[in-house]
């Protein structure tokens, strides 16, 4: 009996050790970032780098073909690219692997959502010393780059192509309504939207000029508010939605637009043409159900593929009447690359990160073939770019000094502004009696929720 106990205890202990090793491996094996004494490119011992990325399908083929160019530049480095098919859970997998000590040498991720955590926790290595060493500066990218690759004064990621947002408009409908140019101010946007709207006899919407609902496709209330110059946090990191008048202005503009249609009508319209139709050939803008739409640069490629007959134009998203300076800026943010803690070949991984973020050939080829916005200042005007004229506003938005990743990075990912979205949900439906006290509540809720993750 006693020996059985011992055997069992031994087994249990083994299991626990295995478990502990699985979760706690983060403390040991980290090789500190940027520690290389010699310039990284001088060491030419053959190495194989592991790179994790979420590209799939054709884009994966295009991407991996580009890695051959990298290998040609650095013949002693072989890149083992591991594609992870689900971009939504990609970063979760990366975090688990790094914490377990099984992380890759370099990471390419689609969303900057985790960068706040990556930088502040040290899970991704600080890149500044590598950058200094090789003369790479954050100024090589558009000013917005800093807003989603740097956190807590740590530059732990670099941008590698990006998304940016603007206004799509249907030229045929504009001509029919007698509108000669796309709206530049929020007042013009609303006036044009009304002119372009076609209602059925029962008041329901046949064609919507512009759908201002926060969940309609890409539009968030923050995309509207930023055009009034909205800030999310003050210098102390406290949310300022109730004290920055931009938010109330944007919300009132939005409500006025909704009331023009009638809430039930616009909800029905959203039910019929929004939702799952967004990324299909039955997209509301592509099928002529909306005349103007807030969307990302990728739509140009979608239209070309799905509805080449559509006569459309693109422009900057309108700015508030009293903020003409903001015309040309919008939300941006996209793919990021970095070197995880525990990378076995950080010096060589840096060469790859440098290639993926700054190599002009790579950036322009990916921009041409995948249809994302090129991220370095130089490539924005490169003659090698073969993109349609409708793409230009998105490049310009990326380069604009007032564009930024928005709402800003925190260590709590992108969930922290849920109280705002919940509030807007009620606001849109007309279920908010006092806007100011509602926003004050939102501020408090966001602050309290962020406090749950505060670090000493």
């Amino acid at each position: 009996m006693r020996s059985q106990w011992r055997a069992l205890c031994a087994l249990l202990a083994l299991a626990l050790v295995a478990l502990a090793a699985g979760c706690g491996g983060s403390s040991g094996s980290s090789s500190s970032g940027g520690g290389g004494t010699a310039a990284p490119s001088e060491d030419k011992t053959p190495v194989t780098l592991t790179l994790w990325h979420p590209w799939t399908g054709d884009e994966k083929k295009i991407f991996e073909a580009q890695l051959k160019t990298f290998e040609a530049q650095y013949p002693w480095i072989t890149v083992k690219a591991v594609g992870y098919p689900d971009s939504d859970t990609f970063d979760d997998q990366v975090i688990k692997a790094i914490k377990g000590g099984n992380g890759p040498d370099a990471v390419l991720s689609f969303g900057p959502d985790y960068d706040g955590q990556y930088c502040s926790s040290g899970l991704m290595q600080e890149l500044s010393s590598y950058m200094d060493q090789d003369g790479v500066s954050i100024d090589q990218f558009a000013p917005a780059a800093i807003t989603y690759t740097q956190f807590d004064d740590k530059q732990c990621m670099l941008p590698s192509l990006t998304d940016s947002f603007g206004l799509y408009y249907n030229k045929d409908m504009f001509a029919k309504a007698g509108i000669t140019s796309p709206p530049k101010t929020m007042t013009e946007l609303m006036d044009d939207a009304k002119k372009l709207t076609v209602k059925n006899s029962d008041g329901t919407i046949k064609v919507a000029g512009f759908v201002p609902l926060q969940d309609f496709e890409q539009l968030g209330i923050y995309d509207l508010a930023r055009m009034w110059g909205a800030k999310f946090f003050d210098d102390n990191g406290d949310p300022v939605l109730s004290s920055d008048p931009a938010w109330a202005s944007a919300l009132q503009w939005q409500k006025q637009m909704i009331d023009y249609y009638g809430y039930d009508n616009i909800i029905k319209f959203n039910a019929a043409y929004g939702g799952d139709n967004e990324f299909s050939a039955s997209n509301a803008f592509e099928t002529g159900k909306v005349a103007m739409m807030f969307d990302g640069e990728w739509r140009t490629a979608f239209i070309k593929r799905e509805h080449p007959e559509l006569n459309y134009g693109t422009a900057f998203f309108p700015a508030a009447d009293d903020h003409p300076d903001l015309y040309g800026s919008q939300r941006v943010g996209g793919t990021v690359v970095g070197i995880p803690q525990g990378s076995k070949h950080p010096d060589q991984a840096w060469l790859l990160v440098k290639f993926l973020s700054t190599d002009p050939g790579y950036i322009t080829t990916m921009a041409n073939q995948v249809g994302n916005v090129p991220t370095t200042v130089d490539t924005a005007t490169s003659p090698d770019l073969k993109l349609p004229p409708t793409f230009q506003p998105f490049i310009d938005v990326w380069q604009n000094k007032d564009s930024s990743f928005f709402p800003p990075l925190t260590t709590a990912g992108r969930g922290y502004f849920l109280p705002l979205q919940q509030f807007v949900d009620k606001w849109q439906a007309g279920n908010v009696s006092d806007l100011q006290s509602g926003l004050e509540q939102v501020d408090e809720q966001i602050k309290n929720n962020l406090a749950l993750g505060d670090q000493p």
Binding site: Q4, L16, L123, Q422, V424, L452
Partner: protein
């Protein structure tokens, strides 16, 4: 003996006991998965219930209310329709197996797939249900998943479509009622209602009790359908618990705190409150069951 049990014991410890103990510990910390947990005592629980000046979690009571709603309405309806359908299903003389298979089939559909189909069926404009409703004069069809007062009922209807598992259990229960009891009550001159009330129903109580417990526990953990319906109906960038928080169930809130906000400590606290609440409700049901559940063995 212990050695024989060891595969289970190790599995239990590694996958259940250790994580439970750890999550209890985390519930007293602020923990973001990446850095070391920081002990904060009862802060997470104070924030949850809004005591002690840390503010109040705005979605805690909302998610509790939504979850209780789905239990209070969902579980009895499930039992009611389960029994009715089972009673109809034991009647035909021929083709029994065909009918039973047909009624069971929906519960084999994956929850996510089923939810997607129902979002389509309930679409206020393009869905077939509202097309029919709209064609009836004088009827204003509801907006279902786009209206906070109709979103939960839509989920209930979807739930009632998939009660095949309950039907199978009730059918077995009905077929198990001793014939002689019906004969005895027939001699007493009972009508159909009395036969149901004094024979069928009491003999079904063990089965009802089982489905009640399972239903309540399932209700506390309600997630898949709400998550899919809330997300799909409103599009890609949707707000959790759409429309207007009406589908924000307790498990969704745990998910949001743990895996979107990275508040693992607070999520652990929420999970422990859920665990304790489930245990308490189950215990109360077990205690009351002595009064209304009749087991065959007690007949004699």
């Amino acid at each position: 003996m212990l050695l024989l049990l060891s595969p289970w014991i190790i599995g239990f410890c590694v996958f259940t006991a250790v994580p439970m103990v750890l999550s209890l510990y985390y519930s007293f910390t602020h923990y973001d998965i990446l850095t070391t947990p920081r002990w904060v005592g009862l802060d997470n629980y104070r924030y949850m219930f809004g005591v002690g000046g840390l503010g109040q979690d705005p979605n805690f009571w909302l998610s509790v209310k939504n979850t209780l709603w789905i239990i209070v309405f969902g579980v009895p309806l499930r039992i009611f329709f389960g029994i009715i359908t089972a009673m109809l299903l034991v009647r035909p003389k021929r083709g029994n197996n065909v009918y039973r298979t047909l009624f069971f089939m929906p519960s084999m559909a994956p929850k996510v797939g089923a939810a997607l189909v129902f979002v389509y069926l309930f679409n206020p404009v393009t869905g077939p249900i509202n097309r029919v409703l709209d064609s009836i004069p004088g009827v204003t069809a509801p907006l279902w998943f786009y209206d906070p007062s109709w979103a939960k009922p839509a989920l209930l209807i979807m739930g009632l479509w998939g009660i095949g598992d309950a039907i199978v259990i009730y059918t077995a229960g009905l077929l198990d009622v001793p014939r002689q009891l019906y004969e005895a009550i027939a001699i007493e001159g009972a009508n159909r209602w009395q036969r149901f009330r004094y024979v069928t129903l009491p003999m079904l109580t063990p089965v009802i009790f089982f489905t009640l417990i399972i239903g309540v526990i399932d209700g506390f953990q309600y997630f898949d359908q709400a998550f899919v319906a809330g997300n799909t109906a409103s599009g890609q960038s949707s707000t959790l618990g759409n429309p207007q928080g009406s589908l924000l169930f307790y498990s969704l809130w745990i998910y949001q705190q743990a895996f979107v906000d990275f508040h693992m400590g607070y999520a652990s606290a929420l999970a422990w409150v859920l665990f304790v609440a489930t245990m308490c409700v189950t215990a109360v049901l077990l205690l009351t069951s002595r009064r209304w559940v009749h087991y065959h063995g007690n007949l004699s």
